[in-house]
Point group: none
Chain length 188, copies 4
DNA sequence: AATGAATGAGTATTCATTCAT
DNA sequence: GATGAATGAATACTCATTCAT
């Protein structure tokens, strides 16, 4: 019954992701969004009751995907696991960039957005715990140099994710390259 | 005696830099700016004729400083020069972040902004040329590994700049740490 | 310095009072308001930051006036005092009607509105205390019939205020008439 | 077998009455209405073609009921008749309150609404005639004081209807109480 | 030169009404 | 019939920019 949907919730969130990455949270407007979908601006309110909810839902969806992939990694060998983890983060590098905008969402307006952001926060903690666990085990295995503080090693590892892939190397290869750079450095 | 002097152009640009870094280009408003200065919002128009010009001028000023520092580096030893260059970029990491917003400036409105952005573009090229020169010489000196494409080495080098300095290590030390990570990698 | 105001805050609140009485809270729009003032709709935001604040401020202003008048009444003779009080309420019958709309103001949006409504609430209590005091003394003086519950006497007294003055009798006379009706009833 | 029956027209009008009394005409929305009924918002248009018609029909229905009751009153003794009339109006006090909103209905949109409002207007006149008739006879019988203009006596009588029944006294008793207040006044 | 005030254009959001299944 | 979905028009509010003192 009822008319056919002009766009699905999933299409809406996909486009939101794209546009927030492109324009940042403040540059993201519902007018912009509707112009990239096949329906009217007001139709968006059939799915979400305000801008905050849309972006929060979008972030949550990305986080869920990353969480699933990250927690599926075999952690037997910490160094291998870190490499795989880096690949996950590289594949979903949007997460890192999106989450940088999470602080701008005005939670006061929308409890649904607040709930989503809370979920994201918890998931973030889960991921940090996994990362710390792997780094500690890697260090115990004498796999990591000791002359550089662990937080710096981690920070650089994390920052690698956002390195622009200018040569458009396929994700798996790109992940491997970055990991090797991180592990072995640039010196011959 | 004239009216009391409100803020200076330099104060205006300093605050603009701070606020653009904090809120991004779209989150940066003249209202916000004037609230962080000692005069009225309309006084801003004594110095610049629109928002675009302000941000462009701000970017240009940062670029000029970086350019001076970068071109003053002694390039005798390419590896040393790269380390010093990284330090410059780390000290002025605002440049990298600001320039990420340059594309959002609507140049159609303002020729002054257009001119500034053009200058920035040229300077950017100049810096890229310097970087390529140093990298090539480093590679010729067999200083850099060959199994990773040069653009990747450069991309990772550049991306290091934005690594968040969570432990608040002083800039010179922070620069050295990052350079060592880049050179030597994380493996013990 | 600066331009001349196109309308004053007082004009704004006067017109708000008139329009809220005419159209009710839900029928009161800022567009409507601006159409009855000499400036643009957006100029209203120089004075108040949202619709809620405007209406709350308007109500508070009316309440302050009523409070001053009511507390200035000489309470030596309770019956006389009640008559004077009725006159006050009749002169400012807007208060009663406005306050009927107070519950519709969404306080969540605006702390200024919340503060004003709180003030109104306290003032309301003060007025009720005064009214109860006078009624009790009138009853002790055997001035009021005992076969009708006091709350009903009070309720009817209060409700008189809103009786439409169709013959446009001047306020003091109108107040006296109503008081006599209340006191003596309609029977000859 | 057809589709499941959603709400009936009568349910629709009952709920409309309740909601208009609760929220006023401007605060009454079809969305709100449908949320308080068992069907979809669009189903409302099976019964009425716009919002104006709904409210007008609702008012008419209440008016019809009041008219029937009022015209059934035995007018032998005008004073008794007035008491019974007051009871009718108190029982259906919604009428008075609803009719206060009638002026807000935009008749231009809907001829059906216009027709209903016209009916209401005529009925209103009928009731006023009845009221005037009874008042005049009561006055001729020397039942009403002469020192107060008849319109004021009528106005106060009518206004009694809206006195809030805070003690929740049953309608017949409440009507009697109000009538006695009106007749005899508050003085002991 | 400095600024308080005015404003128009732009975005967010709501809701009556219409479509199409 | 009944309804889920689409939508355009209307209002709330913000902010860059212009005026006038």
């Amino acid at each position: 019954m009822g008319r056919k949907q002009s766009f699905t919730e999933s299409e809406l969130l996909d486009m939101t992701k794209k546009l927030v990455l492109e324009h940042g949270y403040d540059g993201f407007h519902l007018k912009l969004l509707s112009e990239h979908l096949s329906g009217a601006r007001s139709t968006i309110y059939q799915y979400f009751s305000n801008k905050e909810e849309i972006v929060a839902a979008c972030m949550k969806r990305v986080m869920v995907k990353v969480l699933e992939k990250a927690l599926a990694i075999d952690e037997t060998d910490p160094m291998d696991a870190l490499e795989q983890l880096l690949l996950v983060y590289v594949e979903e590098s949007a997460l890192h960039q999106l989450l940088g905008q999470a602080g701008k969402i005005n939670v006061a307006n929308s409890s649904a957005a607040a709930k989503d952001l809370e979920f994201i926060d918890e998931a973030h903690t889960t991921l940090k715990v996994q990362l710390s666990r792997l780094f500690e085990r890697a260090q115990q295995n004498k796999g990591l140099r000791q002359d550089i503080p662990l937080p710096v090693l981690i920070g650089v590892f994390f920052n690698l994710i956002d390195t622009p892939n200018m040569m458009n190397i396929p994700a798996p290869d790109w992940g491997k390259l970055l990991f090797q750079m991180w592990i072995g450095g640039a010196r011959s």
